[in-house]
Each structure stands twice: as structure tokens, then as C-alpha cells.
């Protein structure tokens, strides 16, 4: 329990420092193209990893196949440029439907 409080406090402070550093100290500092390339790739790597980690869970204990068709639906509907909520609702409907059937 204590670790949760410490983690939240640490993350809150880190977040404030991130957003304060640029405006207060760095000014209009130009980051190098290579730094930009990594900073742009970082959220993509983390989002991808986060989705997988959430799906599988610790030691793959949360693995549930009904999530996969639901997420595929989300991806397909998004590629066809549907709004956020439509994508999520379509995915939820597929996963819930599969769970009702099995």
C-alpha cells in the first residue's frame, strides 16, 4: 500500500518537472534530430508494449483470446477513420458478444 502512495507521489513530481523544465530553463532549446526520432518512437514502443502487457498479464495469467478479435475490430474500424468512441464500442461489442457465446 505504501509503495502505491510513493509511486503516485514520484510520478506526480516527475510529471511536474518534465513540464516545468522546458518553459523555465530550456527555453526554445532545439533538440537534435536523433533525439527527436527516439522521443517520437518512445510512445509508440511503450503503447505497443503496454497493450501486450495488459492483455497477457503477469506470467501470462490474464491471457484471454476474446480480447484479440475485439482489438482487431478496433484497429480495422480506426484505420477506416471512425471516431474514438465508435472504435471502442465496436471492439467492446465483439468481445462481449464472443464471451456471451462461449
Amino acid at each position: 500500500m505504501t509503495s502505491m502512495y510513493v509511486a503516485v507521489a514520484a510520478l506526480a513530481i516527475i510529471n511536474i518537472v518534465y513540464k516545468a523544465a522546458g518553459p523555465a530553463i530550456l527555453g526554445d532549446h532545439e533538440f537534435s534530430a536523433r533525439t527527436h526520432a527516439v522521443l517520437n518512437a518512445l510512445p509508440v514502443a511503450l503503447l505497443s508494449g503496454l497493450i501486450v502487457v495488459d492483455l497477457l498479464g503477469p506470467k501470462w495469467s490474464d491471457a484471454d483470446w476474446t480480447m484479440v478479435p475485439g482489438l482487431l475490430t478496433v484497429a480495422i474500424v480506426r484505420i477506416r477513420r471512425a471516431p474514438d468512441l465508435v472504435c471502442i464500442l465496436a471492439g467492446v461489442a465483439v468481445t462481449a458478444g464472443l464471451r456471451a457465446l462461449t
Binding site: 509503495s3 502505491m4 510513493v6 509511486a7 503516485v8 506526480a12 516527475i14 510529471n15 518534465y18 513540464k19 516545468a20 522546458g22 518553459p23 523555465a24 530550456l26 527555453g27 526554445d28 532549446h29 533538440f31 534530430a33 527527436h36 526520432a37 527516439v38 522521443l39 517520437n40 518512437a41 518512445l42 510512445p43 509508440v44 514502443a45 511503450l46 503503447l47 505497443s48 508494449g49 503496454l50 497493450i51 501486450v52 502487457v53 495488459d54 492483455l55 497477457l56 498479464g57 503477469p58 480480447m67 475485439g70 482489438l71 478496433v74 484497429a75 480506426r78 484505420i79 474514438d84 472504435c87 471502442i88 467492446v92 461489442a93 465483439v94 468481445t95 462481449a96 464471451r99 456471451a100
Partner: protein
């Protein structure tokens, strides 16, 4: 002066308008975050406090997911890495913010994905009023949504039966797809990160697995960046 203040007034209104749209999405996501955290053993009060202080969906979700799998340091580190993008984003607003370092540091706190993107002008400057207004609308929506989800938390059986557990990965998949359609060259990074994460979370704590997945981003060093490389990926919290 009159012209300037009326332009500022227009910016505030534009910011509130775009913020209202972003807030609706943030509210829905926050409700599911509140329920998600509480069903993962987080106290409701702390969950709401986290939304109040951190105000970042992807980092909060990363923290709850990875801390549940054990290991505080890797959990905080992966959530912190997730938000590292805020450093260059906030730095880019510096020249558009008034006052001394302290005031600019305070106003820089308004940098969140959706507000920053909508206030970012083609010439690289930031519409300060628009960014502040858009964030001012989203923040209470994020906190209130979290409170609703955390306090009126539905049972795990109900969440699974109606597929609500798909909201979080689904939302982040939407962000991922958006980033990848913007920068197709990042698809190998996403695939490599997914492979590393799936293999490593079989044997290691989830926070460590997520940290290892972030290493895939280093492969971006090997290719010259596209002209749009200064743009942020993702859209919302």
C-alpha cells in the same frame, strides 16, 4: 491592445470548445480508469488523487498495470518514460509563454497531448490561451470521471461480461494506430516492442517487461527522421 485582447478572447473560446470535445473522451476513459485501478487493488481515494496530480491516462494506466505485476522502481520508470515526450513538447511552448521562469513553469503544466496539439501553430509557436482553456476543461472531466469509476466500481464479473476491460487497451490501440498512420516507419518499432513485451512478461515483472519494450525505440536512431519528426505522436491524455 483591443485587437490583442479580442484575439485572446477568441483563443479562450476556441480552447474551451476544443477542450469540451476532448473532455468527453477523457471522461469516458477516466471512468474506466477509476474502475480499472480499484479492481486492481488500488484504494479509491488514491486513484482519484492520482488523476488530480498526474493527469495523464497513458502513464497512470502504465503505473497501475505494472505496479500490480510487482516492482515499484520499474513501474515508476516505465510510467515516467511514457511521459518523457512532455519535455520537448513543453519546451516548444516556452517562447509563447509570458513572464519569468516560475510563471512559465506553472503555465507549462497545461501541456497535455490534446491541448498541445490543438494549440500548436504551423509556425511552431503555441496559442497559449487556447492551450490553457482546453486543459482547464479536460482536467475536471478527468478527475470527476475517475471518481465516478472508482466509487461506483462495477463487479469484475460485470466488467468482463459487457467487455468493459477492452476500453483501456482499445483506447491505447487507437492512439497507436494514429501514431503509426502518421509515421509508417515506426511500425517495426511497435512490432519489436510487442514481441519484447510478450516474451519478457512471461518471466519478468510487468514493469520490467514494459521498460525492456521501450528499448525498441532506440532503433529509430538508425533511420533519418521524417520532416514531421517534431510532431507529437498520439492525441490525448
Amino acid at each position: 491592445m483591443t485587437n490583442r485582447s479580442s484575439a485572446a478572447g477568441t483563443s479562450w473560446r476556441a480552447g474551451f470548445k476544443v477542450g469540451a470535445g476532448l473532455a468527453a473522451g477523457a471522461f469516458a476513459l477516466a471512468v474506466s480508469f477509476g474502475a480499472f485501478a480499484v479492481t486492481h487493488g488500488w484504494p479509491a481515494g488514491l486513484t482519484i488523487l492520482m488523476s488530480l496530480l498526474v493527469f495523464s491516462g497513458s502513464a497512470q494506466f502504465a503505473l497501475v498495470t505494472t505496479l500490480t505485476g510487482g516492482g515499484m522502481l520499474p513501474a515508476v520508470a516505465s510510467a515516467a518514460l511514457m511521459n518523457l515526450r512532455f519535455v520537448p513538447m513543453a519546451a516548444a511552448t516556452a517562447s509563447s509563454l509570458p513572464g519569468g521562469p516560475l510563471r512559465r513553469a506553472m503555465e507549462g503544466q497545461a501541456v497535455v497531448d490534446g491541448s498541445w496539439v490543438s494549440a500548436h501553430r504551423p509556425d511552431g509557436t503555441t496559442d497559449r490561451e487556447k492551450m490553457l482553456a482546453a486543459t482547464l476543461v479536460q482536467w475536471p472531466a478527468w478527475v470527476l470521471g475517475t471518481a465516478l469509476g472508482a466509487l461506483a466500481v462495477p463487479s469484475t464479473d460485470f466488467i468482463e461480461a459487457v467487455g468493459l476491460d477492452l476500453i483501456f487497451p482499445g483506447f491505447f490501440l487507437v492512439l497507436l494506430i494514429d501514431s503509426l498512420t502518421e509515421s509508417v516507419r515506426l511500425i517495426p518499432v511497435a512490432l519489436a516492442a510487442a514481441a519484447i513485451a510478450s516474451l519478457s512478461c512471461r518471466f519478468l515483472p510487468t514493469g520490467v517487461a514494459l521498460l525492456l519494450a521501450s528499448v525498441a525505440a532506440l532503433s529509430a536512431l538508425r533511420r533519418p527522421p521524417e520532416p514531421s519528426a517534431g510532431e507529437s505522436t498520439g492525441g490525448r491524455p
